[in-house]
């Protein structure tokens, strides 16, 4: 079984098995953050990482110039939301299949880690705005 099939099978299993899916209505059929499915998506993710790196660099420069800790937090948040997200998603395609025994579980774990990275990035940006 290829990793792609394993992820697809697992997604079907998740749709049927998760109780919160029943409660959350439309979220039942949410596509899990899988690895990239096409070259176009890979290119978009690499562009996202590049633009995110520029944003992070500007935030870091602002932090160094003004010694403003909220700029550092802002940079960390943007880094997580862009570069962190792209790196996790690309790793699903290119790194996980190399050593994963149970590819579906690892893929699901990385997908959840991607959500956690998003929430952490948002909290950092939010905290930076409050300061």
């Amino acid at each position: 079984m290829t990793a792609e099939h394993a992820i697809d099978d697992h997604r079907q299993h998740r749709s049927a098995a998760t109780a919160p899916g029943l409660l959350l209505g439309p979220l039942q059929r949410v596509s899990l953050e899988q690895g990239t499915t096409s070259t176009v998506e890979t290119v978009i993710l690499l562009s996202l990482a590049a633009v995110g790196a520029v944003l992070t660099y500007h935030a870091y420069r602002g932090y160094r110039r003004n010694d403003d800790r909220s700029m550092a937090l802002f940079g960390v948040g943007l880094f997580l939301l862009t570069v962190g997200h792209a790196a996790l998603k690309l790793s699903l395609t290119y790194v996980v299949p190399l050593f994963a025994a149970d590819a579906a579980t690892v893929a699901l774990t990385v997908a959840s880690a991607s959500q956690a990275v998003d929430v952490a990035g948002l909290v950092a940006v939010f905290y930076a705005l409050l300061r």
Binding site: H13, T18, L27, R29, E41, L122, V125
Partner: protein, 100 residues
């Protein structure tokens, strides 16, 4: 006697995934709204761009994922469309930084 049944780890991870989705949409929308309100108060265009960029980067991309996954039979478009929203958000945020 009914044996104690623990949920399969993948179910737990699946629940965390859904909770993460909902939380990030909620927090993203809240931060975007706060920034938009700051724009209304100060009239700064960069704050408006920042608000739009942040909404595209997090909330809109996840909502696009949900809507497309629910409506399309094929999932081939879902990934690229979601990531395109994120990329647009990052570009708008970059523009917000230079628009001063």
């Amino acid at each position: 006697m009914i044996p104690l049944q623990l949920p399969h780890p993948s179910v737990v991870v699946g629940v965390l995934f859904f909770v993460g989705s909902v939380v990030s949409i909620a927090v993203g929308t809240f931060v975007g709204y706060r920034t938009f309100r700051a724009h209304r108060e100060t009239g700064q265009r960069s704050l408006l761009l920042f608000s739009v960029g942040l909404l595209l980067l997090v909330s809109v991309s996840k909502l696009v994922n949900i809507v497309l996954s629910s409506t399309l039979s094929s999932t081939a478009l879902v990934g690229p469309a979601t990531e395109l929203c994120r990329l647009l958000g990052a570009i708008v945020l970059t523009y917000a930084i230079y628009d001063r």
